[in-house]
Subunit: 242 residues, 2 copies
């Protein structure tokens, strides 16, 4: 069958979200230390990572919680004279500055999208997350004009791994599943739901969540293809169309 659409996950598929967040968190800690927070950088980063896991990555009080923990930690002297609000403000500034500086797509993205356009294959970003945050990423990545549609799950009130998100997409464009490829970095959220409704799935080995170790355990989730680079999509298209 001819491939009509290719959908892409956003974070860790189109850009290195994991690395960006990691660097931004480090910049956040460094800025707090620069403004006088008396803790070793490595220790604070480790503590922040723990907090992100415990409270979830979308919690908005990571830095407040970090400071609370440090205040209760007898190893450090974060007493009355150290203003927690100042450090949180400094941390937010550091995070934001780093984030703004480093938003760029993986180096195969632009060329791949352009080449797909020249082949008359339509492209979409299909992603979870807060619509405003996801749009901010898309605008900063400067890829909005290179794709034909953007679908953010919270705008449809359906979140991955709910396969309804992909059903919605197929119905929107009146496509059959085998006319569509979906590319993502996660077996659980990207590959499994798209597989379920018969979309051709491509797992890209990027970021940290494609997790080849877990792959062996969860043998019931198998993408149709594995790739290291988006350039490999063109071979896949030929295979599927032949």
């Amino acid at each position: 069958m001819p491939i009509k659409w290719i959908g892409f996950d956003l974070d860790d598929t189109i850009f290195n979200g994991t690395l960006l967040v990691e660097k931004a968190r480090q910049a956040s800690i460094r800025m707090m230390i620069e403004y006088g927070l008396p803790v070793p950088e490595e220790y604070a980063i480790q503590l922040l990572d723990e907090i992100v896991i415990e409270f979830g990555s979308n919690d908005e009080h990571h830095l407040d919680n970090l400071l609370l923990r440090l205040k209760n930690d007898s190893k450090f002297r974060i007493g009355q004279e150290h203003n927690v609000n100042k450090y949180v403000a400094a941390g937010v500034m550091g995070y934001h500055r780093e984030k703004v500086k480093h938003f760029k797509p993986f180096k195969d993205v632009i060329k791949t999208l352009e080449k797909l356009k020249s082949l008359n294959i339509k492209t979409a970003i299909i992603t979870d997350g807060s619509p405003k945050k996801q749009y901010e990423k898309i605008l900063r990545l400067k890829i909005e004009d290179l794709v034909d549609d953007i679908i953010i799950s919270d705008e449809v009130a359906v979140r991955k791994p709910n396969p309804e998100l992909f059903t919605y997409f197929l119905e929107r464009y009146n496509c059959k599943p085998n006319e569509v490829i979906y590319v993502g970095d996660r077996l659980d959220k990207d590959i499994e739901p798209a597989n379920k409704i018969g979309i051709i799935t491509v797992l890209v080995h990027r970021g940290t969540k494609y997790d080849p170790k877990k792959l062996k355990q969860r043998i019931n989730i198998k993408p149709n293809y594995h790739v290291n680079s988006l350039y490999e999509l063109f071979k896949i298209i030929k295979l599927e169309e032949s």
Copy 2:
């Protein structure tokens, strides 16, 4: 009496907060238009100003409300194909970029603080507002090391115009009211409460809220001094000490 401390309000006293916010809002609208929002710049700015007045300047949904209004406005065609979340993301980016670029103190601030230090007069920022936002401003203005204390009302759970904020300050440093000068741009929030407990008050004619027209009506609020520049403080100190 010798002057021991001079307290300063922050917004519109230390930096041009009114102008900064105005420029940032304009940048926000321009960025939305750049990303395709089909409205005239002037009209959108006027609408945003209205929304800020109606919902208060600390509301976090000004841009969402702006887009809601525009969507309901039959003059513009902001239909299905125009994604509100994209515009809000663009607006936030524009606002933030402008804000980061233009944070600087009024040009008399640094020299005044340095000269006060050389005269052994201590200085404090005494301001209302969200502690994290106020600290962000102070850090971006790079004045933290130039003042001896920073008091943000929400950290003490007392807000201007409650004079308790100033009583708290006097008790903290064991000062008499006539040993302290307070400088601010607002008759209602700065001058009135400091006057009430006998602190020497200076109204600086900056920003938009010192309002010389209202001044005539509210004759019961009289600052001890009016200034156009902080350099005039040195004359006031001499007068008070003689």
